[in-house]
């Protein structure tokens, strides 16, 4: 890892290859995410975005390459250890526990927290999403899509994340909810949480991210600041809807 004074990235992948059985999904992926940044990972369907997040969390193990947290090699760590160290994911399509109540979903978010005193965390979630408080005793499956998104964000915040991994937060939401959701993500980032957001909606993601990576069939093909990516003709043609 880089030394010379600067702190190491909070999360990074170095030369990571991930397989599903014989299928080679991630190919020599390098990603560095620094503290406080908002970074996005763009790519089409089945390009390997979710696989990247699952590899970061240790749910999938790389066949070669290394995952680092704060400069430490965490290849041998379990998902629970990584979550315990502040890596938290909001999964694709929210994936709430629909048969459990909203309150229980939030409790699952705080599953690995050592402290029993979660009142301040609940307050923070309720302040950001007053609707969640009204729905606490309801089964999560009975909520609307927008409300479910709030609970999914709340569940992640209950883990007190240092790095928040967001898997396609725009998926399956009405445009107005997408915009709201991205505002919330920005707000969380401004409050000091590092955010890594995976998106197919490149315009939306680049409008709030500092930097972006572009993934194509498991390879990082572009890696630049958001302005540069927005201006990149290759990028415009492939992902930003220009013809």
């Amino acid at each position: 890892m880089t030394t010379n004074g600067a702190p190491p990235p909070v999360l990074s992948l170095k030369g990571v290859n991930t397989h599903y059985g014989a299928a080679h999904i991630l190919k020599d992926v390098d990603i560095d995410i620094h503290a406080g940044e908002m970074v996005c990972l763009l790519g089409g369907n089945a390009s390997g975005k979710t696989t990247t997040l699952k590899t970061m969390l240790g749910y999938l193990r790389p066949s070669s390459g290394t995952v680092y947290m704060d400069g430490e090699n965490v290849n041998g760590w379990s998902t629970a250890q990584r979550v315990g160290h502040g890596l938290t994911m909001v999964p694709e399509n929210r994936r709430l526990f629909k048969r459990m109540t909203v309150k229980e979903n939030l409790e699952i978010g705080a599953y690995l927290r050592q402290s029993d005193d979660l009142d301040a965390d609940y307050e923070r979630v309720f302040e950001m999403f007053p609707r969640v408080k009204e729905r606490l005793t309801q089964k999560a499956g009975t909520l609307s899509g927008g409300e479910q998104q709030m609970v999914a964000m709340g569940r992640a915040l209950m883990a007190q994340p240092k790095v928040l991994l967001m898997d396609e937060p725009s998926m399956g939401l009405a445009p107005v909810l997408v915009a709201q959701n991205f505002e919330i993500i920005e707000q969380i980032n401004k409050a000091g949480v590092t955010v890594f957001v995976v998106e197919q909606n490149a315009n939306m993601a680049l409008s709030i991210a500092d930097r972006g990576y572009v993934l194509q069939t498991g390879k990082i093909v572009l890696d630049d600041t958001s302005q540069a990516l927005l201006a990149n003709p290759q990028m415009r043609a492939a992902y930003l809807g220009d013809v």
């Binding site: 749910y59 379990s78 998902t79 315990g84 526990f97 048969r99 459990m100 229980e104 599953y111």
Partner: protein
Amino acid sequence: MTQAATVETRPARRASRITPVSVFLWALRIAILAIILYGSYLSISSGRLSAAQWRDLFVFGISTGSMYALIALGYTMVYGVLRFINFAHGEVFMVGAMMAFYVANALAVTPLWTSSPAVSLLIVLVAAMFTSTAIAVIIERIAYRPLRGAPRLIPLITSIGASFTIQYLVRGLVGPATKSFPRMEPLRGTFEFGGFVILKTQLVVIVAALVMMGGLYLFVEKTRTGKSMRAVAEDPETAALMGINVDRTIVNVFAIGGAMAGVAGALWGLVFPSINFFSGFLPGIKAFTSAVLGGIGNIVGAMLGGVSLGIFESVGPSLVLAGYEIPAFSQLKDVVAYAALVLVLIFRPTGILGERLAQERT
């Protein structure tokens, strides 16, 4: 790129049409109902059994059924997290009952057995509980964990193998002879309250089962471990991504299922004092039936299913079959259990409360 407003897409409900099969099934339903009702009418009007005899059959059904319920919890909880039927669970119960026999036998010659029967009984229960828990956890570790991710038919077949292995292991260790549980003098006879008479053993069984089931329910609903079990049952991948240790949660499920089966094993010895290496088979099948009857995967369903099956089995032959002057009707109680399983699978595959046996996780 931007997606349109989403609404949860539900599969359109299939238009209900009258097909020959549905006509046949309805005819079958009506015929079965008519047979049951007419048989009940015949036996009740014949006055063969007194009100007290009916009550005794009912109470016997509840006590047997509450043991089925305890065993059924293991089937249903394992199905909940792993989506396969652990056919070795009947053997987990049998091993607990066997341990209960040995501990009870050893205690029966000590003064404790007569001086403090409650303590003795508690020791027997705890010993059986620990033994069954240990066996359940060991089976999970050696037979099922290596198969995680394999198609679900494979652990299912393995569980049948595990079941035979345990049966013959026990047979090899303790011999094939049927053993008889020592009597507990203070549990002989009946207990009366307000004119209601119940055998003491049955009362102990019902109370102990209720306590265990109540405790389990609270555990699953209220504790952190219980919530993690429900999360894993609903969506193991997301649970893992939230930092829940799925393997450990599965071990917890096997351990709790084993503990319940162990308690059932010890209680079984109070009501049906003879036991051998094959004694897990029938109660295991009955408990599996109970779990399906209640809705596989559903904990409260397993409890309801167990008690219902116990009652059907106990009351059913005298109520329905005796009415038709079937000579050995009381020998047919196992038929009632299997008929109940087949009928549930035909008419209500979701059971009383639960989900379809073949339904995939959503």
